[in-house]
């Protein structure tokens, strides 16, 4: 069982660290608490009408109001009259906190639920009889409270970790190393955190992907109907990250013997935001344009302008990444939790060395290396090209931005190196590939291993070949927000090192693994890694360079000790 803990018993913060920790985590805690209070307050505000007294009311007027709010441009405006506190009163509040909606269809459906002249029961505030609503709403906003609560938890845990050193070990006693691992707190947190990711990602997947997909599938049975665009607007509003945009196309059509209006462009409304996408929608559906929309023959109020699927719809699968990441974290935490429980119930079991042979596979093959370098080159140069384009425009217009130009030089050089690496990896695909068989599959310290090698492809191109076993330490640690990995080679044993043409294509090598070295070891942040390395030199061509990890087990129990 391997359990990772982030702090060692020796790494308690000093005075400056405590001050910084208190401010840093205090801000987390306070901001999280503030937002939690605001959300709970808003939820309570929405919940309150459920406890108000019910009374009869009459609908005076009902319709859809076009508001000036670009985020929620439509609102069901329903005026109603009711009796309270001995007099007749009027209100137009559908529910508490009603600010409108971005969907014309939703506002219209609500308005049509309350036709003019009809009677309903409404809810009146016992303390303020002038406050009345037609509906009580479930305060879904309360679900959002989990986000600020994460900040509260991080802030609280950070403050606790910063100050706990003061109260413990006052008598100078021994501080437990195993306690943090034995408590399983880290694993429980990991499981909870992972499940939260799964829940949030799952909910987002249902809302963003699944429900629209089902609606899209259902709409395949809908009828093509001529419609006219009555209003086509690019709505924009300020956010913390700048300005947000959304295309709003209100169209009208005839169905079921009457006229209907809708602003549903497609079922994946989340993809219709952004200035570029919004502009392209408006270009396609300008004011007064005639178009074909698709109408549900069983319910003509339901319609949509577009039923096309394109590559951009793949973006709706992003929530699945959260589900997968959350699941992986949960599984990891669960596995560690189980191994901790196992330590309480059973003595440790030794892993048997496998005596048979094993065909060794490289961790990343030549195609994988090409894919990796291609991805990096595209990603890096894609970002850098935006800035290069800006610099180029400056040069074109005769007013070059010297600072930007000089600043970009190292980034462009890295981009060119990445392109070169893609070319190198592409050529390396044509290299002869080593085929290695290890016997035994999991050798032990102090015992002999045998390696058979051959090459798939034109081995004659190889001018020399070196195959060797390398042992190295690998330590991972955090420096600020960076994760650093340090490596240190502690052992190298040549298996073959030849320039002989007749030796290169195939052969067998044997090696007695020393008993006085360290076997393979894997923990979260510390590892002992043994690898078979193959280096083949090809003149005027990328060299063969493959690394294949192997598992070297401890010495056979009861075997001869070191000499």
């Amino acid at each position: 069982m391997k359990i990772s803990v982030n702090t060692s018993s020796e790494s308690r913060p000093g005075c400056a660290g405590k001050g910084f920790g208190t401010i840093f985590f205090g801000v987390f805690f306070l901001m999280g608490s503030l937002f939690t209070i605001l959300i709970v307050g808003e939820a309570w505000k929405q919940l309150a009408p459920w406890f108000w007294s019910k009374t009869d009311c009459t609908i005076l007027s009902s319709g859809v109001l076009h508001t000036s709010d670009p985020q929620r441009p439509y609102r069901a405006l329903i005026s109603f009259r009711y009796q309270a506190d001995g007099r007749s009163r009027e209100s137009d509040q559908l529910f508490r906190g009603d600010k409108g909606t971005s969907s014309y269809d939703r506002a219209r459906d609500i308005a049509e639920r309350y036709p003019e002249g009809s009677s309903f029961s409404c809810r009146v505030s016992p303390n303020h009889p002038s406050h009345a609503v037609l509906e009580g709403r479930i305060p879904w906003i309360v679900l959002v409270v989990f986000f600020p609560l994460i900040f509260v938890a991080i802030g609280g845990a950070g403050l606790w970790a910063t100050w706990r050193g003061d109260s413990s070990n006052e008598d100078g006693g021994v501080e437990s190393i195993s306690q943090s691992a034995a408590s399983g707190r880290g694993h429980k947190f990991m499981i909870g955190f992972g499940l939260l990711f799964v829940a949030v990602g799952g909910a987002a997947f249902v809302w963003i992907t699944l429900m629209p997909s089902v609606r899209l599938a259902t709409s395949m049975m809908w009828t093509a109907t001529p419609c006219t665009v009555v209003d086509s607007t690019l709505r924009s509003w300020s956010t913390d990250d700048g300005t947000s945009y959304r295309a709003d196309v209100l169209y009208e059509y005839q169905a079921g013997g009457r006229s209907w209006r809708s602003n549903r462009i497609d079922f994946f409304s989340i993809l219709n935001s952004g200035r570029t996408r919004g502009r392209s929608i408006l270009d396609e559906y300008p004011d007064g344009a005639s178009a074909t929309c698709w109408v549900d023959p069983r319910n003509p109020s339901r319609s949509v302008l577009e039923r096309r699927l394109g590559p951009r719809h793949l973006l709706t699968l992003i929530p699945l990444l959260f589900v997968l990441a959350g699941w992986a974290v949960t599984k990891h935490g669960w596995k560690k939790m189980r191994s901790l429980q196992a330590a309480e119930q059973h003595p440790p079991e030794d892993v048997e060395a496998i005596e048979g042979s094993l065909l060794l596979e490289p961790q990343v093959g030549p195609v994988g290396k090409l894919g990796g370098s291609l991805f990096f080159a595209l990603f890096w140069n894609g970002i850098v090209s935006v800035f290069v384009f800006q610099a180029w425009k400056g040069w074109q217009s005769g007013s070059p931005d010297w600072f930007l130009t000089i600043f970009l030089i190292p980034f462009v050089l890295v981009g060119l190196f990445a392109i070169g690496l893609v070319g190198y990896s592409l050529l390396a695909i044509a290299n002869p590939r080593p085929r290695l068989t290890l016997t035994p599959a999991r050798p032990r310290l102090g015992e002999e291993l045998m390696l058979e090698w051959s090459f798939v492809g034109r081995a004659r191109r190889l001018a020399s070949v070196r195959i060797f076993l390398e042992g190295r330490e690998e330590a991972i640690y955090q420096r600020g927000t960076d994760t650093i990995t340090e490596r240190e080679v502690f052992a190298t044993f040549d298996l073959v090192n030849t320039e002989n043409d007749w030796e290169i294509p195939r052969g067998t090598a044997e090696l007695l693994i020393p008993a006085d070295t360290m076997h393979s070891f894997q923990a979260d942040s510390n590892k002992i890694i043994w690898e078979i390395k193959v280096e083949g030199e090809i003149e005027n061509w990328p060299d063969v360079d493959e690394n294949i990890p192997i598992d070297i087990r401890p010495m056979r129990i009861g075997s001869t000790q070191w000499s």
Binding site: M1, K2, I3, S4, V5, N6, T7, S8, S168, G173, V174, E175, S176, I177, S178, Q179, S180, A181, A182, L340, A343, E344, P347, P348, D350, V351, G471, E473, E474, A475, I476, Y477, Q478, E486, R487, E488, F490, A491, A515, D516, T517, M518, H519, F521, A523, D524, S525, N526, I528, R553, P554, M555, I557, G558, Q561, W562
Partner: protein
């Protein structure tokens, strides 16, 4: 509270599959709250990397007397060996921990084929 750990014959080197035998003793002062006493055999790393801890065996006494002792016998696992490198040092230890206070007594051990830790530095 007084916690004491002692191996049989006072040895701290154990070969894989050897029995780590000894005695855990405690004396709980009047008024101190102790729900259980745990004996843990574990390895831990130190050095450049973030610390890893691996608990391989836990023995627990859920109703300890105010003053008492328990003999223990745990078979040392096949690995990992105690070792020291340029980046990583792996050590073995047994801890006697009183819960919930977390008061601890630790005894460092070496597990490996030789009395000294494997040196790969």
């Amino acid at each position: 509270m007084v916690l004491t750990l002692q191996t049989k014959d006072g040895g701290i080197w154990f070969k894989p599959a050897d029995l780590v035998e000894g005695r855990a003793s405690w004396h709980i002062d009047y008024g101190e709250e102790v729900d259980s006493i745990e004996l843990r055999l574990f390895w831990y790393t130190s050095g450049k990397g973030s610390q890893d801890v691996g608990i391989v065996r836990v023995l627990r006494d859920d109703s300890p007397d105010p003053s008492g002792h328990r003999d223990f016998s745990i078979r040392a696992p096949e690995g990992p060996y105690s070792f020291s490198g340029k980046l990583i040092t792996l050590s073995w230890a047994i801890e006697l921990v009183a819960l919930p206070s977390g008061e601890t007594e630790r005894l460092d051990l070496r597990i490996g084929p030789q009395p000294v830790e494997v040196d790969i530095a």
